[in-house]
Symmetry: C2
């Protein structure tokens, strides 16, 4: 069964590049193999090879035919030896959260439980274990070298200069401009980096609201996201058995996992926000830290004095976490315990190197509400909190809108950089218009590409079902690919080293009628092939957009005497 | 049968606004009726009406239940009386193109032929009949007042100031900054305007490459495009019976129709570009002018001296018209007859008020080729030609890319404005990356929204099948709606008067859980409802994104004591 969930990409090989500072590092990449270009010159057939293209790969061990996948065992714990070598963590005797222990002792959950739970790690007393701490000490960890290699996608071999060295990575993390999410209890995750001087990343949300259909399905969603290119995965489950589901996901997830701990806290108080307490929330944090969640969205920026700003709005508050804590503040007429206990939160997170994603409870949910007093007041608070996180060596990033019309996107970005001291920005879209329910992956990709170009480090995907219902598998695929487009467009515009290598290779393939190479270099080879087949091509010499007589590229090619392979078409249709 | 092809929009009425300068004008709009907001205050049920929203409407008489549709008769000839009142046109005895006459005399085509062909109109000898001519004379035509009313979408009644007066429209057309396509032989078309100080428009392409499946299907595609919001329609058919198909389309099309006459000319020389002649092309222009085509894409900007620039490129030439005329130039080693005869072309177009769309034969087909010497050399030529068109009172706009990465879009736009003396820009996308075949409606919508914001007047849609095959009906719908998003996002960013009225109404409906209003105000109410139903909602009080306990908007609403209608959900599912 587990072999079925292997991830494959057509015409591609899994390859690894090794570290120099840390030779034990093996950075997985996808190598897309290309067919040669065949031309005729003076009646002679000239064959020119096309070099393979290296592509950033989020599929982890699932795309490596040499790794045996067993969901019950979890993925190989790649980072564990790196972590242990630093000699600054201790293995606990067992879970330390009350809730975690309670669930573990409940025999009725045995059939749901991941079978090989390890004893969690935690920083030794008095020791610091975060990537930010190491970076500040001038230490280049294996994780840092890993992301440097990963970001460059072999561009140096193509003669492309890059500024992304391991030292550069270290410096960005030390300055707080980038986050490398790396919970010591999620050694299965491959290191990646979130910062505006790196590739723009995308996050996928999974998790059902009410009746989840089971653990296997959740793990399957995780792989599905990784297959299409999701860089991190947020598990937003709110149903029963969140704890057990999360264990399965974390153990089998090759990318960092994020959560909104408040959702689980709300389950614990049966949906009554007023019954939330710091103690309960604190226990939830520890529970999830010890499972291996890499970052937490926490809506600490909501202040009692600002809650009423939402009443001036067209769409009030559209953040779940934000509305929950606002409800708590209003009910008790007290400052939010998330804000009050922010330093305590950081002390916990620092022990596991969990990053904090400062959730924007007041993100605008309508373009009318964009860049308003509510949003900017919260941003100011987040700017204060991010420095407090850094003081405790906790990595941090800032969540952002939402719905913002195009002409207000730049202000949003510039202000975030200024007020939050260059901490990475992580936005949901933004949607640039409200009038297209059913197409909000597109309304938001337009804004996402722009804000990514302006400096946003990670984009939270939006699916076609946004505002209407929960996404199914096809919606997730569409959402992820749409966001890969936005992120890649931003990488090109920002001038990321080697960002256009894949575009140029694909366009060359297109121009030379190497259809299969064109598809394989695309973000979704399967869909491209499917659409191509539906096009009812008569032979490989033209695409149905132009027809047999009028293909511009063919006419243009005639001048250059390129040759096409008449059998290629037939082969593609057989696939 | 013809009643089936009526266009309907849920919860909407067809309404008309009348002119002041020209009281005979009736401008069709779609009025979206909204349900009231119901709140509870101190135990009392408060009902507040929500004013209807006026929406720009491209569906013409098809959405008017009082108009009897008969495809064999064609649409009402609304503009005919306006044209005749000007007393500057004459009705010809019959078609004057050789080809048109030949087809008409061919009895074997009778079964294909539109049954009520009228004798065409042409300017009287020595008279000028173009909207640009009238504008330069200071005349505000009914067409100009019509578009002024249409553009404002009733915003003045909402207290929104607008600069779009009939006089402003006249001034923009006189200056060449806007085009009002209005062939005197297409009086069925409702006036619309293309210019950067107006709503951004979108064009839809229809027409099969090889085996068209029949005239009815082509007409059906035309209605489909108009239903979803296509502002103009380009008929790019290249198969048999183009002439007869076009007659059916033009007689039944409520929006301006554009063509690339070169495609038909190529049919006439059986695909041999070298056999093209000016005489044959000239006859094709006259043939189509007399049928009522409103604008022609003509690739006059290709110069013999510039053809070789395409050889420096990654993707050479991707424009069909451009590659055909380049092939002609290279074969004959002569300057293009399109360029040489540009004044003659304008003399013909002026007699019917057909606009010229200067086709960009050298538009980049890969981001690598964007903003290169080839593209900009052609733009310079187009800048020269547009002034020659204006000298003959021919309305003109400029076609643009193609594939352009985000950071090069602004330069493209600014340069077009400068070199082409503010003539409207009409772009295909641009696609901001090459790596997403199967999703190029999205890669291009990202660029389209930006270039629209920067000043592009009309966007040519791209469907998911771009680069892969011909779009089917669903692809057309997706492409049109995607481009409506891009255009609307640009309108908001540009600050078009009243552009956000619909967004705000939709967001208010969303916040108040008036689901049906939310759907009906959207660009695609049917899809929104379909996705909503698929979401398996338990009752109307929350959407499945958040589930029953955690809906942010519901929590946020509790503070404001809004009421929801538990029966609303059930009703939606019954529909």
């Amino acid at each position: 069964m587990d072999d079925k969930i292997k991830i494959t990409y057509p015409g591609s090989e899994k390859v690894y590049m090794t570290g120099k500072l840390h030779p034990e590092i093996k950075v997985g990449m996808r190598k897309v193999l290309l067919t040669p270009t065949v031309t005729m010159e003076d009646g002679k057939r000239i064959v020119k090879e096309n070099a393979p293209i290296y592509v950033y790969d989020t599929s982890g061990p699932y795309s490596d035919p040499n790794v045996k996948i067993d969901l019950k065992q979890g993925l190989p714990r790649m980072r564990e030896s790196w972590i242990l070598q630093r000699d600054d963590v201790e293995q606990l005797d067992g879970l330390t959260s009350e809730y975690g222990r309670m669930r573990q002792e409940d025999k009725s959950l045995d059939h749901l439980r991941f079978s090989h739970i390890q004893r969690p790690y935690r920083a030794k007393a008095g020791r610091q274990v975060s990537q930010m701490y190491y970076a500040k000490q001038g230490i280049i960890t294996p994780e840092m070298e890993y992301v440097a290699i990963r970001e460059n996608m072999n561009c140096e071999e193509l003669g492309i200069d890059t500024y992304i060295t391991p030292e550069f990575v270290r410096d960005e993390i030390a300055a707080g401009r980038a986050v490398l999410p790396a919970n010591i209890n999620h050694p299965e995750a491959e290191p990646m980096i979130i910062g505006r001087n790196f590739l723009v990343k995308i996050n996928t949300n999974i998790g059902n609201s009410a009746t989840t259909s089971g653990i296997e399905e959740e793990v399957d969603k995780c792989l599905w996201s990784c297959k299409w290119g999701g860089d991190t995965l947020m598990d937003l489950s709110t149903g029963d058995n969140i704890h057990e589901t999360r264990e399965w996901i974390v153990r089998n997830c090759p990318v960092p996992v994020g959560t909104v701990p408040m959702y689980q806290a709300m389950e614990k108080v049966k949906g009554k926000a007023e019954n939330l307490t710091w103690e309960l929330f604190r226990d939830t944090l520890i529970e999830q830290c010890e499972q291996g969640v890499d970052y937490f969205t926490i809506h600490c920026g909501i202040r009692l004095k600002n809650v009423h700003y939402a009443h001036e709005r067209l769409c009030g508050m559209v953040s779940r976490g934000g509305s929950i804590i606002s409800q708590w503040c209003s009910y008790h007429q007290k400052e939010s315990f998330l804000y009050e206990h922010f330093d305590d939160i950081c002390d916990i997170l620092a022990q596991y190197d969990v990053a904090v994603s400062l959730g924007d409870g007041l993100r605008p949910g309508a373009i009318f509400d964009a860049n308003d007093r509510a949003q900017f007041a919260e941003l100011d608070t987040m700017g204060e909190l991010v420095q407090r996180a850094w003081a405790k060596n906790v990595q941090a990033f800032i969540e952002g809108p939402g719905h913002v019309p195009m002409h207000k996107i730049r202000e949003n970005m510039d202000r975030q950089i200024e007020k939050c001291h260059e901490a990475p920005f992580y936005t949901l879209g933004p949607l640039v218009t409200d009038i297209a329910p059913g197409y909000d992956h597109i309304t938001s990709a337009i804004g996402a590409a722009q804000i990514g170009w302006y400096g946003t480090a990670m984009l939270c995907y939006v699916t076609p079902k946004e505002h209407l219902g929960l996404p199914n598998k096809e919606d997730v695929r569409t959402g992820v690919v749409t966001y890969k487009i936005a992120a890649h467009a931003a990488d090109i515009a920002k001038g990321h080293p080697g960002a256009t290598v894949r575009d140029n290779a694909l366009s060359k393939a297109r121009y030379e009628f190497r259809w299969k190479d064109q598809f394989n270099l695309g973000l979704d080879p399967e869909r491209a092939l499917e659409y191509y087949k539906a096009g009812n091509h008569l032979n490989g010499k033209y695409c149905t957009m132009c027809g047999p007589n009028f293909c511009a590229m063919r006419i243009s090619q005639n001048l250059k005497s390129c040759e096409f392979d008449p059998e290629e078409e037939a082969r593609l249709h057989e696939e």
